[in-house]
Amino acid sequence: MTESRYIKAIAQALDEEMARDETVYIIGEDVGASGGAFGGTRGLLDKYGPLRVRDTPISEAAIMGLALGSAVKGLRPVVEIMFADFLPMCMDQIVNQIAKTRYMFGGQFHAPMVIRSPGGGGLNAGPQHSQSLEAWFAHVPGLKVVVPSTPYDAKGLLKSAIRDDDPVLFLENKALYAMKGDVPDGDYVLPIGKADIKRPGNDVTIVSLSRMVHQALAAAKILAERGIEAEVIDLRTVSPLDKETIFASVEKTSRLVVAHEAVKTAGIGAEISALVSEEMIDCLDGPVVRVGAPFAPVPFSLESDYLPGPADVVAAVEKVLAY
């Protein structure tokens, strides 16, 4: 076990998987000589050479299509898209091509590939470099969407994503890249589609993801001082959703808050709220309350006012408890 930063844990996962499987390669803008805009591929060009670490022009659609074509032929590409806000540049390839390859062609072809891309605010990067877009992709059948919140989770989930036979969108979080945490040195994998209980509790369930998990944990600490024990669930994966873990927790607590950094409107919180109301309304002692950003682009100058934080989560829990 070594203390490692989130971004370093990602680089480690890539290194270990490239060493394990020679069909794994990396492709993206500035992933080679520069080691990635955030350092996620640092050192890999020297170690694995230019055939397996491919620097590209700024051509996201070509990068994404190329990865797909090579995956169809049996390679396992790991694509880096520098900011999740750039994913719309290759949206056709992701949504109409990659996600549908297995289904549309009747299982003849499949696309075992990973798209790594960081989202989220907190760096004052402005409206076009700060979005949390996981709900867009969770709406597309055929994609898996992973949203790790810690260095340990990032490494174990990325290794699983690379070994997965379906396309995985691996949404990292820039504001977490410098976060430190314990990471095992050797090989381990974490299951895709399985949530993780980051803090157990009996009074209220808080479902969260990515950086918002840490805001939820901070909120749980404040609540604990008032004698309220919140259970914090880290989704880890937003597609497929781990309904089982969410439902089991709500059965125990009867109260649910869903907190994410993305805009509240039509976010993952809406999906979870609908699922719980459809399938376990009798268990609930109050409404499902969502925490999310206002329905506005991420403002450069007002970012800290815009992003939801622990106080918003606490307020949401109070609302549920007051019911």
């Binding site: 659609a61 797909l68 090579s70």
Partner: protein, 318 residues
């Protein structure tokens, strides 16, 4: 110069494409095929001339107007027809239909319903050849309209930069759906664009299968030898409009009739007769053989069950 055997094979391929699509128009008009279809009648020399240069291991990508390329690449007509009928025994289990037919066995990595979307993917199968060090080639077919998509620019630049073993075949029938080339593009010759990517750009008469084959062969050999991509523009004619049933009101009077006077199959027949490389009996026997193959494929498709509704979630994920 193509041999007699090769030219006879190309003749078979072109006539097969023609007869398959004529039959598709008939059964579509009878209501046997759901959705809609786009035929390439008049453009057969491109599909057959290019695919004659490829091996079964090579891969092609095609478009919404893709029956011709797929048939010329050698797909088994039975699962092909069953796919267009939307039946369980279709090459894609009835999931794709006319616009998305694919066959792993035949090296057809997919027709595509999104204009310009095949080009980026074709880079990847070509890159896989480079990665593995084999000499397989990828051919990407697209129309003139697709060359105004950003994917054309991104893909040709990257293919040239990395010397990828891919041939970009622009089937220029002069029409982007209902819009004429002269109204959406300043230049006349699309292959001129190749120069800006640092790759050869060639324009050929796409109704002359000998010319198409000659230039395609050069481009495929170049790609196979690791010398990089080519943009091959084949000027051709779309006889039947954008979709089956398109009244083509946007075309000038007499234009379609004039286009039909240049029949690529008749051109090849004239050549074969002049060179004494085939006679009328060969043409008739080939036609008969093809019609029998198509009859069998239609019977297979009609006899195949509809896909099972309980399989609707199958193959969304592994």
């Amino acid at each position: 110069m193509a041999s007699k055997a090769l030219l006879q094979e190309i003749y078979y391929s072109m006539l097969k494409v023609r007869r398959v699509e004529e039959r598709l128009l008939d059964v579509f008009a009878e209501g046997a095929i759901p959705g809609f279809i786009h035929v390439s009648i008049g453009q057969e020399a491109v599909a057959s001339g290019v695919c004659a240069c490829l091996t079964p291991r090579d891969t092609i990508f095609t478009t919404h107007r893709g029956h011709g390329h797929t048939v010329a690449k050698g797909i088994d007509l039975k699962p092909f027809m069953a796919e267009i009928y939307g039946r369980a025994d279709g090459s894609c289990g009835g999931r794709s239909g006319s616009m998305h037919v694919a066959s792993k066995e035949a090296g057809v990595a997919g027709a595509n319903g999104i204009v310009g979307a095949g080009m980026p993917i074709s880079l990847g199968t070509a890159f896989a050849s480079m990665f593995r060090g084999d000499d397989d080639v990828t051919v990407c077919f697209f129309g003139d309209g697709a060359t105004n998509e950003g994917t054309f620019h991104e893909s040709l630049n990257l293919a040239a930069l990395w010397n990828l073993p891919v041939v970009f075949v622009c089937e220029n029938n002069g029409w982007a759906q209902f819009t004429a080339q002269s109204t959406y593009m300043k230049i006349k010759q699309i292959s001129d664009r190749a120069a800006s990517y640092g790759m050869p750009g060639i324009t050929v008469d796409g109704t002359d299968v000998l010319a198409v084959h000659k230039e395609a062969d050069r481009a495929v050999k170049r790609a196979r030898a690791g010398k990089g991509p080519t943009l091959l523009e084949c000027n051709t004619q779309r006889w039947f409009g954008h979709y089956a049933g398109d009244p083509q009101k946007y075309r000038a009077e007499g234009e379609v009739e004039k286009a039909r006077e240049i029949d690529p199959i008749a051109r090849l027949e004239t050549h074969l007769l002049a060179k004494k490389q085939a006679n009328q009996a060969f043409f008739d026997a080939t036609d008969e053989r093809i019609r029998a193959e198509i009859d069998a494929a239609i019977a297979f498709a009609e006899g195949s069950p509809k896909a099972d509704p309980s399989d609707i979630l199958m193959d969304v994920y592994a």
